[in-house]
C-alpha cells in the first residue's frame, strides 16, 4: 500500500545549494557505473568479495574490475587502470594497499570519478596522519566525495549497491526501507546491518565512514536530510569532529526527519573531570547529551535500542500519549501498564464508544477495560474486533498489540489482521510478541510490512515514549493533519 508522503521531501534543503563533495555523494549511493580498484581473482581477497557482491547482489549498472595483472575477473573484463575505461565511471571502490592509494586516487580524479569508497586501512588510525592528509587533498582537489579510508563500505538495497566487503552468506543484506544508517565503526555497523536483515527491518542506505578524511558524519547527515528515500536517520557515533556543526545540522533535520543516535565512549569522558562543581559534574558525555536534547535527537543507550527506536517510525506519528492495549495474556497487559507509568505515557480511557462495541462482540467473560484482555482463547477474529474498536475510539492515540503466539487459538492469520490495521494509517500499531522460533517467524513478517515488533512490553513502551515525544516536536514545525505520516513506503 502506498503511504502518503510526509512533507519531508519538499522542505528538505535542495542538494543544489550544497558543496560539491556532498552533492557527489549521490554517486556513492546510486552510481550507474562502478570501478573496483584492487579487484582480485583470489576468492578470499576483499577485492574479490566486492566484485562478487556487486554481481551476485544484482547491481543494475556497469562493474569494472581494475587489476594491473588480470585480464578477466569473475567473468568481467579487467582493466589496468581506471583511465583505460572508455565509458564514464561514477564511483570507485578502492581496496589496494595504502601505499598505492594516492596514485589510483589521482587517476580517479583525472577520470572524473565523482565518488570513492576507500576501504583501505593503514592511515590516521595507525598514526599515519600525513598519508591521510595527502589522500584528502587529492580528493578535495577533484571534488570527489570520498568515504573512508579504513571503512567497511556502503549499501543501497534499492539499487543493489554493495561495497561492503563481507560475503553475503555471512552478513545478511536488509530489505529496502526508510532507515539510513551512518556508522563510524565498521564492525558495529556490520553487526547491526546483519541483525536488521534478520529481523526484517528495512534500510535505505548504510554507510560505514571510517576515518572520515573527506566526508564526515555531518556531511552524511546533510545528504540524508535531503534524500527522498531516507525517512529516518540512524547514527552510531564515537565522537563528532565539530560539535557545533553537528548540533546545528541535527536541529534542522529533526524538524523533518527523526534522528536516532547511539553515542559510544560515554565512560571514557569521565576522566576529564575538573576541579570546580561544574567540572566534576560533567564530562564530554554531558555535552553530547545536552546537544542531543537541544537538537531533539533521540538517544539510544544500547545497540538494541538503536533499532528499537528507529523502526517505530515505520508507523504514522501519534497524536498523543494515550495507549490502548490489546492482549491475549492478562499478565502481559499488567506489565505493559507498569511500563506506561515508567515512561510517562498514559493509559487510554476506553469506557465510551469502544467499550459498547466490544461488549456486544466479545465473549461475556471478557473484561472490557484497558488493558483489553481478549483472553487466551482469542483467535484472529477477536483481534480484528478489538483492533477495529480501538482504531475508532478517539481516546486511543497508540495501539499496543500484544500477541502471544503460543496459544491454541492463534494462527498466522492474525498477522494479516495486524498489517491491515496498520495499513489504514489511522493510528500507530506497535506489536509485542514474546517467544521462541514460531513467534520470531511471525515477528519477521510483521516487521517486513512495517509493523514494529518488540520482545517485551517495556522495550515497546520505551520506544513509544520517544515516538510520542518526537511527534510533539514534529507537529510544532509541520502543519500536518494528525496523525502525520512521516514515511513513504514503497
Amino acid at each position: 500500500m502506498e503511504r502518503a508522503r510526509g512533507n519531508s521531501a519538499k522542505t528538505g534543503d535542495s542538494l543544489a545549494k550544497m558543496p560539491q563533495k556532498i552533492k557527489n555523494l549521490s554517486a556513492v549511493f546510486n552510481p550507474s557505473s562502478i570501478a573496483v580498484i584492487g579487484a582480485s581473482r583470489e576468492p578470499n581477497k576483499i577485492g574479490h568479495v566486492i566484485v562478487k557482491n556487486f554481481i551476485d547482489g544484482g547491481f543494475g549498472g556497469k562493474v569494472y574490475p581494475i587489476n594491473p595483472n588480470a585480464e578477466e575477473i569473475l567473468g568481467l573484463k579487467s582493466y589496468k587502470s581506471v583511465l583505460d575505461i572508455r565509458e564514464k565511471v561514477d564511483c570507485a571502490v578502492i581496496a589496494v594497499p595504502a601505499a598505492a592509494v594516492p596514485e589510483v586516487l589521482e587517476e580517479c580524479g583525472k577520470k572524473g570519478v565523482k565518488a570513492v569508497v576507500l576501504i583501505t586501512g593503514g592511515f590516521s588510525e595507525v598514526g599515519k596522519m600525513e598519508e591521510e592528509k595527502r589522500v584528502a587533498a587529492i580528493a578535495n582537489k577533484y571534488g570527489i566525495a570520498l568515504i573512508g579510508p579504513n571503512c567497511m563500505g556502503v549499501l543501497t538495497p534499492a539499487s543493489r549497491v554493495d561495497s561492503v566487503f563481507l560475503p553475503i552468506y555471512k552478513l545478511g543484506r536488509p530489505r529496502v526501507g526508510g532507515i539510513s544508517f551512518i556508522s563510524q565503526s565498521g564492525a558495529v555497523g556490520g553487526c547491526i546491518v546483519d541483525l536488521a536483515a534478520r529481523a526484517g527491518i528495512g534500510m535505505s542506505k548504510f554507510v560505514s565512514y571510517g576515518n572520515a578524511a573527506v566526508i564526515d558524519e555531518c556531511d552524511l547527515l546533510e545528504y540524508f536530510a535531503s534524500d527522498k528515500e531516507t525517512q529516518i536517520i540512524v547514527v552510531y557515533l564515537e565522537g563528532v569532529r565539530d560539535g557545533r556543526r553537528f548540533l546545528e545540522i541535527a536541529k534542522k533535520i529533526t524538524r523533518k526527519k527523526p534522528v536516532v543516535v547511539l553515542k559510544a565512549g560515554r565512560s571514557a569522558a569521565g576522566a576529564e573531570a575538573a576541579r570546580s562543581h561544574t567540572g566534576s559534574l560533567s564530562g564530554a558525555s554531558e555535552a553530547y547529551k545536552a546537544a542531543f536534547r537541544q537538537a531533539e535527537v533521540i538517544e539510544a543507550a544500547t545497540l538494541e535500542q538503536l533499532f528499537d527506536f528507529a523502526k517505530i517510525f515505520d508507523q504514522v506519528l501519534p497524536c498523543g500519549k494515550r495507549i490502548g492495549i490489546i492482549t491475549n495474556g492478562g499478565g502481559m497487559g499488567v506489565l505493559a501498564t507498569d511500563s506506561i507509568e515508567d515512561e510517562g505515557l498514559a493509559l487510554a480511557d476506553i469506557s465510551g464508544e469502544a467499550s459498547q462495541a466490544l461488549r456486544l462482540t466479545l465473549p461475556p467473560y471478557a473484561n472490557v477495560r484497558n488493558p483489553l484482555d481478549i483472553i487466551g482463547d482469542a483467535d484472529s477474529h477477536r483481534y480484528e474486533v478489538a483492533l477495529n474498536a480501538f482504531l475508532k475510539e478517539e481516546n486511543v492515540d497508540v495501539i499496543l498489540l500484544i500477541i502471544l503466539f503460543q496459544t491454541v487459538a492463534i494462527d498466522s492469520s492474525v498477522v494479516n489482521i495486524a498489517i491491515r490495521a496498520s495499513d489504514t494509517q489511522k493510528k500507530p500499531i506497535i506489536a509485542v510478541c514474546t517467544g521462541g522460533e514460531y513467534t520470531e517467524m511471525h515477528k519477521r513478517i510483521l516487521e517486513s510490512y512495517g509493523v514494529p515488533t518488540y520482545a517485551s512490553p517495556s522495550s515497546a513502551m520505551r520506544a513509544i515514549s520517544r515516538f510520542v515525544k518526537y511527534a510533539e516536536h514534529y507537529s510544532k514545525y509541520n502543519n500536518t493533519a494528525c496523525p502525520a505520516p512521516i514515511k513513504k513506503q514503497k
Binding site: S276, H277, S282, Q294
Partner: protein
C-alpha cells in the same frame, strides 16, 4: 571572589554585599542592609573558606557583627586577608541552586543548572545545555531536575520565581559566550518566590 560588575553587566542580581576592612565598617554595612547578614573572610589563601571557619551566617545584631569580625580575623591571622565581606542573608525559604558553565572541546560553552547545597556531589542533580540557550531550553532544564517539584513548590512551599530563574540562565548563557571562561560557577544562587540572587561565584579563565 564575587565579581559584582561582571554579573551585573549581564543582568544578574547580586546579593547586597559590602567589603569591610574594620569592625565598625562591618557593623555599619550590616545595619545599612539590615540584619541578619552573613560575614565571609576575603583572602587569596582561603579557597575553601567554609571548611576553615571563614564564613559566619545569621549574624543578628551590631554586637554579633563585631564579634564575628574579630573571630574571622583571629582565625585567619596567619593568612593574607583583604577584609570581611558582609552580605545580606537570603530568606529562610530560599533554595540553593548552582548555575555553572564549562568550555567543552567539541561543543564550546556548556551551561549547567543544578541543585546546590552541601550534598551537590552526592545527588548530582544537574542538567546541561550547549550555549546559547533559548527560553524553552531554560524551562526544559528547570523541569528536568529531579528536584524540580521542590522548585514548583512541593509540600506547601511557595514556588520559586521561575521567570527570574529563566532570566538568570539566559544571562549566564550570554556571559559564557562573551567571556568564554574555562569554568564558571554561581554557587549558590538563592532562589525563592521573589527572585534569584547570586551570592558567590568563581571563574577560571
Amino acid at each position: 571572589m564575587i565579581d559584582f560588575p561582571l554579573l551585573s553587566k549581564y543582568g544578574l542580581i547580586v546579593v547586597p554585599s559590602i567589603m569591610a576592612k574594620e569592625a565598625h565598617g562591618a557593623i555599619k554595612a550590616a545595619a545599612e542592609m539590615g540584619f541578619p547578614v552573613a560575614m565571609k573572610i576575603v583572602s587569596p589563601d582561603a579557597l575553601h573558606k567554609s571548611d576553615r571557619g571563614g564564613v559566619i551566617l545569621d549574624v543578628q545584631s551590631a554586637s554579633e557583627a563585631e564579634n564575628a569580625f574579630r573571630t574571622l580575623m583571629d582565625r585567619f591571622r596567619n593568612s593574607k586577608v583583604e577584609g570581611v565581606l558582609v552580605q545580606k542573608m537570603a530568606g529562610k525559604g530560599a533554595i540553593e541552586l548552582i548555575i555553572g558553565g564549562k568550555r567543552d572541546s567539541q561543543f564550546g560553552q556548556l551551561i549547567m543548572l543544578g541543585m546546590g547545597g552541601i550534598f551537590v556531589e552526592v545527588y548530582k542533580d544537574v542538567t546541561f545545555r550547549v550555549c546559547p540557550i533559548t527560553k524553552d531550553d531554560a524551562l526544559g532544564m528547570i523541569s528536568e531536575l529531579r528536584s524540580s517539584p521542590i522548585l514548583e513548590g512541593a509540600r506547601g512551599r511557595k514556588p520559586i520565581d521561575k521567570a527570574a530563574l529563566v532570566g538568570a540562565l539566559l544571562s549566564v548563557s550570554s556571559l559564557l559566550l562573551k567571556e568564554d571562561p574555562a569554568e564558571f560557577d554561581i554557587n549558590p544562587l538563592m532562589a525563592d518566590e521573589k527572585g534569584c540572587v547570586a551570592v558567590d561565584m568563581r571563574m577560571l579563565r
